[in-house]
Structure formats: structure tokens, C-alpha cells
Symmetry: C2
Subunit: 225 residues, 2 copies
Amino acid sequence: MVDSVVIVSGGMDSVTLLHYLVKQERRNPAVITFIYGQKHQKEVALAQAQAQLAGCGQHLVLDLALLRPLFAHSALVDAATAVPLMQDVQGDPQPATYVPNRNMIFLALAAAYAETNGVGDIFYGAQRHDMYGYWDTTPQFLAALNEVYGLNRKTAVHIHAPFVQHSKADILRLGFELGVDYGQTWSCYEGQELACGRCPTCAERLQAFAEVGVADPIAYVSRDA
Amino acid sequence: MVDSVVIVSGGMDSVTLLHYLVKQERRNPAVITFIYGQKHQKEVALAQAQAQLAGCGQHLVLDLALLRPLFAHSALVDAATAVPLMQDVQGDPQPATYVPNRNMIFLALAAAYAETNGVGDIFYGAQRHDMYGYWDTTPQFLAALNEVYGLNRKTAVHIHAPFVQHSKADILRLGFELGVDYGQTWSCYEGQELACGRCPTCAERLQAFAEVGVADPIAYVSRDA
């Protein structure tokens, strides 16, 4: 019996969240994953593999590729907009990697899915690093959004982000305890065969593995950025 | 130059809102309309006709029919769930005609569209009657949601519902002043050739026309409910 909904992209944060919910919190979440025209759509297959590994019987992959016009200028979607390097985004409150209102959209769809399943708890993998550039990953965002969802009259919808104050290194440490296979995750914003090692999410991921003192099991073009 | 986004379904409230924005407020909105598996999808062609009548050059019709699993039990979407009569929904805080989280989803998509167009003002046609059954049409909902959108760091996104305290009769009176052609609108939740005259939205529409003392120009199966 499904008791919650979790948004899983296939990246290290949401994959860790999935296994944390199942193994540590003993939840039975329905998994939801979104295709939205992202260059790194290969993450979706890894979300599917991880949902299977976690033993989740219900996984909805929503193909929203037709929403691309809404995200036209984002570096994560637009072929003509290059994915920036880590140093290009530091200090930018809303860098080119921002996807307009993506988290509101994903959470709104997850909430509809939760309501239709008769459950109210929704989980997503917001973490501390993303706060530099994304307004929709912060504790303030979460608190304000839960004020809205608190108005629902039948289903007590609540958005949870258990890692919102975690660093990526914190998340990795937890994931290793839980036996998460990070070889079966994808972070790089570029959708190439190998991770670039230089985009903001690669840089943060590599930094986190270095901090924990473990080698990242996935292959990179370069790790010297 | 587009200066806002307006959600238009093809019903009398949002169509009046569209013409109010263009003729009275001198706005130049981009129009957005959603297909989501609604039985009364014929409203979409009327939204398109009205956007043309209003002289709006930018109209995005998003076909989200694949979202139907999210709305599985709603009487507006599910073939196996009958559209209730007006008397069945009175006093029900969330009747069968509720579509799970629909307004959050539509507003979130409209906000992404607004951001991508570099504008922040979003309009939707919430009005007073719907408050009986829909948590996502109330002034409280609007205020709480604007607290969330106020956190956006680059685009000052703000959701407006100028009719939120209007009755349907108020909306009709305004629409007649603006010359709105209500023969080119559709409200009935059933998607048949003629409006049923008995579902909650037909009942409210007929009541509003009666209150204003004008005959509704559209044809009904029955007006005696």
C-alpha cells in the first residue's frame, strides 16, 4: 500500500532520498519522474533502475517534453544555451541552469498524483548546495509552499525535503550507510556518454566524493576543473 | 509586446477576464489554455476563438492529456464518474468535480511561461461561487501562493484574480459592458453537443443570466433543473 510520493530524477540526491525513505523510514512511496526536455534525459533510465532496486512497485514516468517552450532559455533544455562552468554560476542568484518554475511544476504534479492515490506526503531531494542559485530549493520556499497546501480541504498534503539542510557530502555518507549504488546515478547537466566533470553539478558531486574520501564510481571526461 | 499571461479555459469567467484585461486594462497578455483530459474539451476551441477576437497574437494550447492518471477520479475527467447535479455538490467542501491540484498545476505552468517571456503578471478567472468546493480559488489560496512566488529572485511573479470576489452575475454585467459574445463560451462539465443545464456550472451560469435578466445565447438540453 503506497503511503507517499517521492520525486526521483536519477541524480545522487533524489536516489539517496528514495533509499532513505524505503530502508530507514520504512515508507512505501510511489515514485514519479519527469522528462521535460532535459539534455541529461539519460538520468530517467537510472531513476527507473533505482526504483526497481528499492522495490517500489509504482513508478510513474511523465513525459512532459512538450513543455519545452516553457523552459526555452534554460541551459538544461535549450540546445543553443551552453551549460555553464561552476565558476560561471557562483554568486549568480538565478544562473542559466535555472529551469523556470520547475520545482513548483514538479511538486504540483506530484501533489495531484498523491491526492489521486489518497496519500498526502510528498518528498523531494532539495539540498543545501542548490540554494545559491535556486529559489525553489530553500527552507523558505518549503515553508511558504506548505502554507498553500495546508489549505487543501480533504487531503493533508505536505511537502517534505529531509535533506534541505544537508550538504552533498552528508547525503553521500548517508547513502553509503544505506548501500546506495552511485554507479547507477547521473548528475551531469550535459547529456553526453561520460560526465563532463566541469558543470556545476559535476563539480559539486566530485567535491562531495572527495570530501567523503571515496572515488566516484562513474566515468568522467575530466576531473581537473 | 506581451506584458502578462492569462489562463483562458473557454468558460464565461476566463473569457470575460481576457476581454477585461485587453479592453479595460489595456494589457497585452499571452494566452495559455490546457487540455487535460476534460470531458468538455470543446471549450478549448472557444478559448482559441476568443483569443483571436481579443486580438492576442500569442496563444499556447498545452495538450496535457497524458496527465489523466493524475486526475483519475475526477468527474471532469473520468468516464466512469458521473458529473454530479448542483444539489449533489452543495455543502461538499471538495466535490467529485474537483480536479486534484489542477489550479496549482495550471498556475505553475503559466508562471514558467511568464518567466520565459520575461513577464511576471499572471491572471486567472477564480470567482466567488467556486469557493464552496474548491480550495484553490479562494483569496486565502491566492495570498499564500503569492508568498511563494514572491521568493523568485529574478522575475517578480504575481498571481492576480481580479474576479475573486465577483459573483457570476457581476462577471456577466462586466462582460456585457465589454461586448463579450457569450455564445462563444462553454461552461457545461458534460462534453455533449448541447449544455446539460443541470450540472453545477450550468446551474450557476443559468442563475447568473437570470439574475442579470438576459437570455443565455447558448443552447441547453433542459433549463428546468
